[in-house]
């Protein structure tokens, strides 16, 4: 074990959550490992008891108050610091991994083009996928929405007399409210991903698409496991906790009547479902029970196997800063003597395809890079969004499910554009966030106070020439906007802080003066 591994570099960002020792796994040569979602340096919230901040309050269809939940997250400084440090570390690992391949930008462009092509011809590719899957001996089902998905799966389970189902993590089944539906119908659902299992046992939604329990400290996990699995409440060792989950989940895996996975990529030419995981739990779900079910969002299609050569290279690098996930599994046909079902789920996707400004959000491969880089997300936690999808991608997807309930979410952004820059499939996330603000304002989905602010700013911001003229006169956009628009209580991000000193000269003015001398070329 190297001295450097035991005493990693000081973290200038949040020294209060940096422990003196390190428990991460070591490799064969004694080197510190940081594959999968492993942190590049230890992050550990101090043992001081601090209650875990809970998520946004859900009140039917009423708009989610993300800012209120974010304030409670910030009011828990140890959780907030550990969360911020942990996700910023993943972002930095992502940067290192992407910079290590010279063709990175080319891969992003290819991934984007393959996705847009597939979405523009989605009917053809879905029919091709269905035909291939049927030829492989797979039962194919179509669900118009989440409720139908749940009914279909329930019907399959009923046909087999299945009472227990093990599953790997799937954002689609979260979207469908699958666990809650099955619980009400007497079916036992067992999540087998560690993070997702923690969240299930704590009766809380996942807070991140890749790391569902990233908002919890080990002390929180120790509390949940002591309460639900009977572990030692005073033992918060991460190895002990992970092992406790392994030994308590394994009997449930062995006895399960059915297994289910989500889908990272569905290959049209072969009818294959591809899952990318680190724990091996999707493979247990697909390979142990006699009945296996794969739930597939229709936007997961890609045309051919060769395209995995692009997507597998961008997914884990974007999500974790790892070359590849520990397991990349390709399920094509049932094992001998077993049944395999695939459920193709629409749930609003075909309608989103017709939204001119927003359809490219369907390119998303759920890597979570936009969440890790977002300053709002890192400081407010995924649960503060009160929706299945949080962070920047959530801001542009959630309103397609419910415009009123998620009407405030597109305002939880600083508009810094970092999400767009890290997106492996080049979704113009921050531009879509801005476009949603306009749509929601036009449809009167946003509170009156915010509307007034938008109107005052909108006249200036919507016309580049007027914007520049206003800035020229006022030195800065912050000054061009009425003070009430910047410090208005509805503007969450102006709250509790003075806006920065504005530069004496705007970039545009500087550029004009220094780079456009002698007339424009």
């Amino acid at each position: 074990m190297s001295a450097e591994g035991m005493n990693p570099q000081k973290d200038p960002l949040h020294p209060q959550v940096q422990p003196p020792t390190d428990e991460s796994a070591r490799g064969q040569d004694g080197q510190r490992l940081q594959h999968a979602e492993g942190a590049s340096k230890p992050v550990r919230a101090p043992a001081a008891r601090e209650a875990q901040p809970r998520g946004a309050k859900i009140r039917g269809d009423r708009p989610i108050d993300q800012a209120e939940a974010a304030e409670r997250f910030i009011a828990a400084p140890l959780h907030q610091a550990a969360h911020d440090a942990r996700l910023w570390d993943v972002r930095k690992k992502r940067d290192a991994a992407t910079q290590a391949i010279p063709e990175w930008e080319e891969l992003r462009e290819l991934a984007s083009q393959i996705k847009t092509h597939t979405l523009a011809n989605l009917d053809t590719y879905l029919e091709q996928f269905e035909a291939a899957a049927k030829a492989n001996g797979v039962h194919v089902h179509w669900a118009a929405d989440g409720a139908e998905h749940n009914r279909i799966v329930h019907g399959i389970l009923r046909d087999h007399g299945a009472k227990t189902l093990i599953k790997s993590k799937s954002m689609l089944t979260e979207e469908c409210g699958f666990r809650h539906y099955m619980a009400a119908n007497g079916i036992d659902i067992i999540e087998t991903d560690l993070g997702e299992r923690i969240q299930q046992l704590d009766d809380e939604e996942p807070s991140h698409v890749v790391m569902p329990a990233v908002h919890k400290t080990r002390i929180d996990v120790a509390e949940v496991f002591a309460r639900t699995l009977g572990t030692d409440p005073t033992n918060d060792d991460a190895h002990y906790l992970a092992e406790s989950q392994r030994v308590t989940t394994r009997p449930l895996i062995l006895q399960a009547d059915a297994g289910m996975t989500g889908c990272n990529f569905a290959i049209a030419e072969t009818g294959t479902v591809v899952t990318c995981t680190n724990e091996g739990n999707a493979d247990l779900s697909g390979n142990v029970p006699k009945l296996q079910i794969h739930s597939i969002g229709i936007e997961k299609l890609i045309p051919r196997i060769e395209h995995l050569g692009v997507f597998i290279r961008v997914l884990a690098r974007s999500a974790l800063g790892s070359t590849i996930t520990q397991y990349t599994s390709h399920f094509r046909a049932p094992r001998k003597g077993t049944e395999m079902h695939m459920v193709l789920v629409d749930n609003g996707r075909s309608a989103r395809l017709g939204m001119e400004e927003f359809w490219t959000s369907l390119k998303c491969i759920r890597c979570g890079a936009c969440m890790n880089t977002c300053p709002v997300y890192r400081r407010s936690g995924g649960l503060s969004y009160g929706a299945t999808y949080s962070g920047p991608i959530g801001l542009i997807i959630d309103p397609t499910f419910n415009k009123r309930k998620y009407s405030t979410l597109p305002f939880s952004s600083t508009m810094n554009g970092s999400c767009t820059n890290v997106c492996p499939v080049k979704i113009n996330i921050h531009e879509q966030i801005f476009a949603w603000r306009k749509v929601l304002a036009e449809e009167h989905q946003i509170p009156l106070l915010k509307q007034g602010m938008m109107k005052a700013a909108g006249a200036v911001l919507s016309r580049p020439a007027a914007y520049r003229a206003a800035i020229g006169a006022a030195d800065s956009a912050l000054k061009a906007l009425p003070r009430f628009a910047v410090y208005n209580p509805a503007n969450t991000w102006g709250k509790k802080r003075e806006m920065p000193e504005t530069p004496k000269q705007s970039f545009h003015a500087w550029y004009k003066q220094n780079r456009m001398k002698g007339g424009a070329k």
Binding site: E23, E103, D123, T270, E279, L284, G309, T323, S350
Partner: protein, 196 residues
């Protein structure tokens, strides 16, 4: 109208305007050196896997046999190693839960990522690669491909019912980023370079 028809009709009605051709995929220059065995080993170790050290001129399986001698239940899917659990006689996949060590042969390995590929043909019972506590993988050094991209040009993905790339052992860091091997699947993965 069935949900199938409704979804397809909505997709057709909502088809995005514009021309979106499928781009050709260029063959990128491999980012690995010519010594694929060394590159593979280096990357596998970074992903938490092990390479069985073999002294020149000695039996590549000597170290493995020592480990197997200390194991209670060994399931072997390869002729080079004799186990005490016959994979061809397994009634149901869950029966392999007591396997200490499983030995299987990889179809091929990928130097760029340190991955190995298995299909149902190599595993005999797929679950053995996850329920066993430890996995030992035999890999012929001539079965290495350079990149992930070239791996996906191999025929196994279209011809097998199940094909899986393993890159190191089962891992999790869901609790405060602490990397732990053996989340749900195997606690260790060791590759032995051994010609077929």
């Amino acid at each position: 109208m069935t949900s199938r028809e409704a979804t397809l009709a909505a997709i057709r009605a909502n088809r995005p305007k514009g021309d979106f051709p499928l781009p050709p995929i260029p063959a990128f220059t491999p980012l690995v050196g010519e010594d694929l065995v060394a590159e593979f080993g280096e990357r596998l170790k970074r992903m938490g896997g092990r390479i069985e050290p073999v002294a020149e001129g000695s039996d590549p399986l000597a170290g493995i046999r020592e480990r197997l001698a200390g194991a209670k239940v060994v399931a072997s899917a390869v002729p080079e190693v004799t186990g005490n659990r016959d994979l061809t006689m397994v009634a149901k996949p869950g029966d392999l839960e007591d396997v200490d060590i499983a030995v299987v042969r990889a179809v091929f390995g990928i130097a760029e990522s340190g991955s190995v590929l298995f299909t149902e043909g190599e595993l005999i019972v797929n679950s053995v690669a996850y329920l066993a506590q430890h996995l030992i993988v035999l890999l012929d050094p001539t079965d290495l491909v350079d990149t992930v991209q070239s791996a996906y040009r191999r025929p196994e993905f279209a011809s097998s019912a199940y094909a899986v790339l393993h890159t190191g052992p089962s891992a999790t860091a869901d609790i405060e980023g602490v990397l732990i091997h053996g989340a749900q699947g195997v606690r260790s993965l060791t590759v032995v370079m051994l010609p077929r």
